[in-house]
């Protein structure tokens, strides 16, 4: 660690930490980031650039880092790409690798792109690869993807857990620098709930980089420690370090990501890797500080060129010298302070080249540099940088009073630090729809009007100077507490610090005018955008900054222009002779820094992604090898294979078993709604198409529900349990929406009715027992119910007990056979299932699944709403107009279906189809045409809605909606398929037992 200072900083010099970077072993100290540890070892080169594969080094010291994107490898499944070296906390055994280079960082073949760089200007993707299209997909895109790109995602499933938490507070403070800490301290005094988050491992922000600052008589470090202690002792305060506020959502809902285990050497057994916090704050304080801008000059992207504040942080916080001989380029007073601190850390300051004119610079930074004996050269600019993998020198120029640049001296150095001024971090303010205003003095945008209940404090709104920032934060914290309803007065702080100015002038440094274009001067390091690209975009006619951003890609990717955005605006303003304020801003988008997909998914993955709803027969079915299908969130048994049966064999057997003897089916998933009240019948009269007034108690009827537009919405059997009580069943998928629709009409349209509804879907478990032997099976189980046809005819309902369980026994059939649906309270459902199965043994009872259920009902032409209808069929189209109560003056959908277009000839009607070849099973969804072998485009007159092989009929059957279908009976039409049109005959939808003889026994 040749570049480590002898003392100072916040690293633990007694704890060595070993890690590898690109396979080479290094040593750092506890408290180091990967960036500080590499710099301590003299390593600047950490990556290759996106487009030109230029060697790149560490630029910053925090989340603004555009260059040092690193992959951290814990194991085969835990490879995280695109982490900023400046935010990676090292631990013993950390494995880090650089990205975007091959075969090695020092020698990268992709750098050949740099030689062709005239061919890779702004918009090169758009220009070069537009034509021919086939080449784009096959050749260009794969090659570009291989050559470019930022890191690789791991190929194994993510083994880590991710947690999520909702949190509520009166005051959320984002950023734990001086303003944020002061805001949290003030607000916490009021008793309000306070959440304070900061993206860094340690709270304190810029205070952690101070060398000589004092607050209220304490060193900055001691004041931070004392403040955190106070906050930690307050049970109403939650401190979240390593936590990034990545997005500001409406109504003060702020998304935070807390990184919990990435910095740990060994992973705790049950800790999540990260936690997504969804914080609802009454009031928000944004104390997000600012980001230093680099100066823009040719070669400014070479490894060894850093931000001045970052260099200062490495010296003061990490005890690391970024270089031994440092040239300082100043566009802002902060460069002076950095020069003084770097000098104090043992670096030689070769020169401070100040871009600002002679005599224009003054102030405490300038004075401090002077008194430290550092050489300051005013009116300077940088014309070129020597060195490839590391800076070896800088060619300065001097800007004359006429604005002309003349070549100046060459400075030998191993490091250049630059400061172009600071940009307030207004990202979250802007995401919250807050307005921004350009501050000419500062040379940056600052928050103006807010939309949410939020306020910015400290440098994030342009307030600089330590005392001012602290007190601005304290005021904001107190204001926020008061606005949230808690009495609060702002604390007062007094600090001593150098308090250099943070203002600058966004844009590029002046260059030589002349025939030879200068080398590349980079505006956006991460996206390899140069000053020339911005100039080119404008020459090609792009005016709007939004267009220039997309054409040049400046400000895009993971970095979102943190260091580059304002400089790009400055250059565009300059080139187009506009004021920077008039160029406008691109939209600040979330996330502030990249967020893992894992934390968004949270615990909702695998089996716990969605609720898995199981019926009472589920365990029984699992034990019998039942095969399940998902119906909404329900697991329903699709079929029960016996031996080596495949689905077709099982379904054929199940279908035959029902019609030849008896079958049993778990129908528990049907929606059920109990409708109660003296106006229950009137409500159903108005709601369903059928007439309900004349339905007797303990009788049931098949009901059709339409929307007011006249189209079929749901169906199901409705039982009258008492004069004022109905048991309504709905489709499995329709349960929730029918309930919602009923509440809607009861609450908002028919408030005169005395009726209430209650969902009983999960109160009742239902077993359908169907087949000629159904009565015989049930007879063994009931004692107090007369099952005879006279006492319990088709659609009759009886109440009593079955297998000792109280039941509502409905004689209904969705198979066309003698059938019953046995309803029992759900917690007896499994017992009922087993009792029926046992009783059915002597009749060889066949448990059947949803697939056989579908075939059996299709054999009878019973529709499934949502399969045979699609929201555009009236009851008449679907062939169920017989259900409509003809004498009713009104019901939902009556007027809708009375429209001329819904009664016109040629509407699509549900019909049966029989293929000429009985073995051919049509595809559901296939298009129906009237004539074969038409040329494209041909007229499609409908589609197949249901299609199965029927073992009972020994042939295929299908239903379809066909324009004017019922007028085409016995005609041959065609189903268009890629293999050729299939001739089919139009028939009735009832394929089996058309007289219904099997039903009424």
């Amino acid at each position: 660690m040749k570049a480590r200072t002898t003392a100072g900083g916040r690293v633990d010099r007694s704890k060595k930490v070993r890690f590898t970077f690109d396979g080479r072993a290094y040593e750092g100290l506890a408290g180091d980031t990967l960036a500080s540890a590499l710099l301590a070892n003299g390593v600047h080169l950490t990556g290759r650039s996106f487009k030109y594969h230029r060697p790149r080094g560490i630029v910053g010291s925090g989340s603004e880092e555009p260059n040092a994107l690193i992959t951290v490898i814990r194991d085969e499944a835990r490879k995280t790409p695109n982490l900023r070296a400046t935010q990676i906390e090292i631990y013993d055994g950390l494995i880090a690798e650089s990205q975007n280079r091959w075969p090695s960082l020092e020698f990268d073949l992709g750098a050949i792109n740099s030689l062709f760089s005239p061919m890779l200007p702004a918009g090169f993707y758009n220009k070069t690869f537009m034509w021919p299209r086939s080449w784009w997909y096959k050749v260009y895109e794969p090659n570009i993807r291989a050559a470019a790109g930022l890191g690789k995602a791991p190929s194994l499933p993510d083994p880590d857990r991710y947690a999520q938490q909702f949190a509520h507070c009166e005051v959320l403070v984002v950023g734990a620098g001086p303003a944020g800490l002061a805001a949290a301290l003030s607000a916490a005094n009021s008793g309000a709930r306070v959440v304070l988050c900061d993206e860094q491992a340690e709270m304190g922000g810029s205070l952690l980089s101070e060398r000589n600052a004092n607050i209220d008589g304490l060193s900055a470090a001691d004041w931070v420690a004392r403040t955190l202690e106070t906050l930690r002792a307050n049970p109403r305060v939650r401190l979240l370090a390593r936590t990034t506020a990545f997005g500001y959502f409406p109504h003060n809902n702020i998304g935070l990501v807390e990184r919990i285990t990435d910095h740990l050497e060994s992973l705790p057994a049950h800790a999540p890797r990260e936690r997504l916090w969804q914080v609802r704050a009454t009031e928000v304080v944004l104390a997000t500080g600012g980001i230093e801008r680099p100066l823009i000059f040719p070669g400014n992207d070479r490894p060894g060129v850093l931000l001045a504040s970052a260099a200062r942080t490495y010296a003061n916080r990490y005890g690391v010298r970024v270089g031994e001989r440092v040239a300082v380029l100043a566009g802002c007073d902060a460069a002076f302070e950095a020069a003084v601190d770097l000098s104090a850390a043992g670096s030689t300051i070769a020169i401070i080249a100040d871009a600002r004119p002679v005599g224009s610079v003054d102030g405490p930074g300038f004075a401090a540099a002077k008194s430290a004996g550092l050489r300051i050269l005013p009116s300077a600019t940088a014309l070129a940088v020597s060195g490839k993998l590391r800076v070896t020198g800088v060619q300065l120029g001097i800007v004359g009073q006429d604005g002309k640049v003349v070549v100046g001296e060459t400075i030998a150095c191993d490091t250049i630090v630059t400061s172009g001024g600071f940009t307030p971090s207004v990202h979250l303010h802007s995401q919250s729809r807050g307005k921004l205003a350009y501050d000419d003095q500062l040379g940056a945008f600052v928050p103006a009007a807010t939309a949410e209940r939020t306020r910015s404090a400290g440098f994030s709104r342009g307030v600089s100077g330590l005392t001012a920032a602290l007190n601005d934060g304290a005021t904001a914290g107190a204001d926020a507490a008061v606005a949230s309803g808690h009495a609060c007065t702002a604390l007062q702080f007094s600090a001593q610090a150098l308090d250099v100015g943070l203002a600058g002038s966004p844009g590029a440094l002046p260059q030589l005018a002349g025939p030879i274009p200068p080398a590349k001067a980079f505006v956006d390091f991460q996206n390899d955008v140069t000053t020339r690209d911005l100039a080119l975009a404008q020459r090609e006619g792009f005016q709007s900054i939004e267009h220039i951003k997309r054409y040049t890609t400046t400000g895009m990717a993971t970095d979102q222009g943190k260091t580059s955005g304002l400089n790009a605006l400055g250059i565009v303003a300059d080139a187009s002779n506009r004021r920077l304020a008039d160029v406008g801003l691109t939209t600040y988008r979330m996330p502030y820094t990249p967020v893992t997909f894992g934390v968004f998914a949270g615990p909702a993955r695998g089996d716990q992604f969605d609720p898995v709803r199981r019926t009472p027969s589920h365990d029984w079915a699992v034990a019998r090898g039942g095969v399940f299908e998902d119906v909404g969130n329900w697991k329903r048994t699709r079929y029960f294979p016996v031996g080596n049966e495949d689905m077709h064999a099982a379904v054929d057997r199940e279908c035959l078993g029902v019609r030849n003897s008896v079958g049993m089916f778990d129908a528990s998933t049907l929606g059920k709604i109990e409708v109660v009240g003296k106006d229950a019948a009137e409500f159903l009269n108005r709601f369903y198409v059928n007439n309900w007034s004349n339905l007797g108690v303990n009788r049931s009827r098949y009901g059709i529900l339409c929307r007011d537009d006249g189209f079929v919405y749901d169906d199901g059997v409705i039982v009258r349990l008492a004069e004022d009580r109905f048991h309504v069943t709905t489709t499995t998928g329709g349960a929730a929406r029918v309930f919602n629709m009923m509440e809607d009409y009861i609450q908002t349209e028919w408030r005169d009715l005395s009726v209430w509804i209650t969902s009983t879907s999960e109160q009742w478990s239902v077993v359908a027992v169907q087949g000629p032997k159904a009565r015989d099976v049930l007879a063994k189980l009931v004692t107090d119910i007369d099952l005879s046809a006279a006492a319990l005819p088709h659609m009759g309902v009886a109440r009593g007990h079955i297998a000792g369980i109280p039941t509502i026994l409905m004689r209904v059939s969705f198979t066309g056979e003698l059938g019953f649906e046995v309803n029992v309270p759900a917690e007896y459902g499994a017992d009922l299932w087993e009792a029926i199965y046992a009783a059915g043994q002597e009749f060889n009872i066949t448990p059947y699944g949803t697939e056989a259920m579908h075939v059996l009902r299709a054999e009878k032409g019973y529709i499934i709403v949502g399969q045979d209808t699609d929201g555009t069929l009236t009851p008449d189209d679907a062939g169920v107009a017989w259900a409509i109560g003809k004498t009713k003056h009104d019901f939902v959908g009556k007027r809708g279906m009375d429209r001329a277009a819904l009664k016109a000839a040629g509407r699509k009607q549900l019909v049966g189809l029989l293929t000429e070849d009985p073995k051919v099973v049509l595809e559901e969804g296939a298009q129906v045409v009237l004539a074969p072998n038409q040329s494209i485009p041909f007229e499609m007159v409908g589609h197949v809605t249901s299609s199965y092989y029927s073992a009972n009929l020994g042939r295929s059957i299908a239903m379809a909606v066909v324009a004017g279908g019922r007028s085409k009976m016995d005609q041959t039409i065609y189903v268009a398929m890629p293999g050729g049109d299939i001739p089919v005959k139009v028939v009735s939808t009832v394929f089996y037992d058309p007289q219904g003889a099997r039903l009424n026994v």
């Binding site: 857990r161 947690a163 999520q164 938490q165 909702f166 949190a167 509520h168 709930r193 049950h270 800790a271 999540p272 969804q278 609802r280 615990p603 909702a604 089996d607 716990q608 969605d610 609720p611 898995v612 709803r613 199981r614 019926t615 009472p616 969130n633 329900w634 109990e674 109660v676 009240g677 003296k678 005395s754 009726v755 209430w756 509804i757 209650t758 969902s759 009983t760 879907s761 999960e762 109160q763 009742w764 007990h801 000792g804 369980i805 109280p806 309270p825 759900a826 917690e827 007896y828 459902g829 499994a830 017992d831």
Partner: protein, 180 residues
């Protein structure tokens, strides 16, 4: 009927999770007259304040909506409750529906209770915002739940029976971090 056993969804007890026994549950709906009469018949004063539960003698009435309550009673009280409610309500328009089997219930308790629920429920569960005695239908992850704070560190939770494993498994998953 006495030999019948209700098979409630399985809930493994944890230090912080207590499955509750089978209960009598009635959905009660009606207007102000019916609410007053039901209070008399049920022996618990049904709250007319929103989102408040009332309880007495092992029975509880949870306000779910301005005309809707969840009435809870011991399993053995089923017949008695129906009878006394019917007597008290007489001809007053109302709806009572037996939903005893629709739900499963459990208690999440202990110092981590608020934290565990906050992993999936977007409500502010701070004692000041969600005091003891408050109850409501709400959501936990993707499931609807009935949430009733019975003590500073205890929540009575009901879910529709098929959603119970989903809710409980998520809670158990979250509790692992707390050493639960």
């Amino acid at each position: 009927m006495s030999n019948l056993t209700r098979r409630s969804p399985r809930i493994e007890a944890q230090s912080w999770l207590e499955p509750l026994p089978a209960k009598t549950r009635l959905s009660f709906r009606g207007g102000p007259d019916a609410i007053a009469a039901a209070s008399h018949g049920f022996g618990v004063n049904l709250s007319t304040d929103a989102c408040r539960a009332a309880s007495a003698n092992d029975r509880a009435a949870l306000w779910l909506g301005p005309d809707e309550y969840l009435l809870l009673a011991p399993e053995s009280d089923a017949a008695a409750v129906r009878t006394t409610l019917a007597e008290a309500l007489g001809e007053i328009p109302h709806s009572i529906v037996d939903i005893s089997h629709r739900h499963a219930a459990f208690v999440v308790k202990g110092p981590q209770a608020e934290w565990l629920l906050g992993g999936g429920c977007p409500l502010d569960l701070d004692l000041a915002a969600f005091p003891v005695g408050m109850c409501t239908r709400t959501v936990y992850m993707k499931s609807e739940i009935y949430l009733w704070r019975t003590a500073a560190d205890a929540f009575h939770i009901e879910t529709w029976r098929s959603f119970t494993p989903y809710v409980v498994d998520h809670l158990i998953d979250a509790a692992r971090e707390c050493g639960g």
